[in-house]
Amino acid sequence: MPYLHANRRDRTRADLIAVLVFLACGGLIAALSPGQQAGLASIVRRSALYPFLELHRASSERAGLQRRAAALRTERDSLVSELAEYRRVAEQATQLRSGVGLAGPAVGSFAPAEVYPGRPRIGDSNEFVLRGRQLASVTLPAGVFTGRGLVGVARARHVAGVRGEFWSHPDFRISVQTENGAITGIVRPYRRDGGQPIMLLEGAPFQSEIVPGVHLFTTGVAGIYPPGLRVGTIRERGEEESGWMKRYYVEPAVRPEDADVVLVWRRPELGP
């Protein structure tokens, strides 16, 4: 007796052809470039998955509203005190610049957005979709961060939002420097023993020594991330790199799962 009285008969040749066609389609999709795959995924998300994604968004907003309000209040309070501290420095800088006839620094502006991480079957998500009203005016790629530090990079337009990668994405690299600017290097994601992703600082000069607890900041090279943005904190020294460079394990400033509301950097227009 067939399962639950299912009434069906296999037509072997037609079925085999159908299987081969679907496998060929799967192979074709696998052969598409990451950009084309993202385009296909965005079509599916805009159509078949749209009601489910809206449901996820609504429930996540509802659940996170109270928690977010408390977190925002705390963040606002700490920002107010930090702002008071830096306002004096900014005023001095302005006075000095006007004294020597320099134009004001071009720092750009920021577009707020909500983060919707991808949900892979296994492991943590390395990609996300951003939603926000001001994202249309952002030039991509652009750095994504919270008040605590770097989150990742916004890569390309995706449906009504923007698709991006967390710093935990295997392809992610960022140029960093210590607070005094003495030591520079490249930070990439690193998974130790299959655990949670951390960061690895590579390319630090062999003669230099960075002690644990030192903060790393973006250099702003290449204009994707604003300079001076916190990336992470040195945790411990790793193995040497080819005997000429040093490696350090870095505790990230922001873990991907902790990012729900972020800022996307709108780089300033450069003069001629």
């Binding site: 007796m1 067939p2 399962y3 639950l4 009285h5 299912a6 009434n7 069906r8 008969r9 296999d10 037509r11 037609a14 079925d15 085999l16 052809i17 159908a18 299987v19 679907f22 496998l23 389609c25 799967g26 192979g27 999709i29 696998a30 052969a31 598409l32 795959q37 993202a38 296909l40 995924a41 965005s42 599916v44 998300r45 078949a48 998955l49 489910f52 994604l53 449901l55 996820h56 429930s59 996540s60 991808g118 949900r119 892979p120 079957r121 296994i122 492991g123 998500s125 390395n126 990609e127 996300f128 979709v129 698709r163 299959g194």
Partner: protein, 156 residues
């Protein structure tokens, strides 16, 4: 009677898949939640011809990968093959035993989880392969078996 039982199986498949996509954020937070997508695919493959089951798997793989924002090619290929193999194995191994469906689901889900883990995360984590994947397979089999009992009761 026969038609209504077959309809019951499809009601179960649709319910399981709707639950999977609606509760995806919840299940993805658990290390070993039930894999209702694989469960729905295997339940559907028991109802379909092998070619149709492959197409069903292809569609589900595409939806899942779009939700995950990664592994589009891998998941469509794995789910296409899983649908096809599920339909073919059903022809070879089907029995009237009440234990067939839960066993078929548990083993099928476990194999799908292992294959997806091997193809998407390298090297696969031993903790996932030995603990989380078997737990997910058992949970999926339990949920789908309970669902099957319920719809059989209502539609019989």
């Amino acid at each position: 009677m026969r038609g209504s039982l077959s309809r019951a199986a499809w009601v179960l498949v649709v319910l399981v898949l709707l639950l999977h996509f609606a509760l995806h954020p919840v299940f993805s937070r658990w290390p070993a939640g039930p894999d209702l997508l694989a469960g729905g695919l295997l339940l559907g493959s028991l109802q379909l011809r092998s070619g149709q089951a492959a197409g069903f798997g292809f569609a589900l793989g595409l939806l899942e990968a779009s939700l995950a924002l990664s592994g589009l090619g891998t998941l469509t290929l794995v789910f296409t093959l899983a649908g096809y193999v599920g339909a073919r194995l059903r022809d070879l191994f089907y029995s009237d035993s009440a234990r067939f469906v839960p066993t078929f689901l548990a083993v099928g889900v476990l194999l799908i989880q292992w294959i997806v883990a091997a193809l998407t995360t390298w090297p696969p984590q031993a903790r996932f392969l030995l603990i989380y994947a078997p737990l997910a397979a058992v949970a999926t089999a339990a949920v789908c078996w309970a669902g099957e009992r319920m719809v059989s009761f209502f539609f019989a």
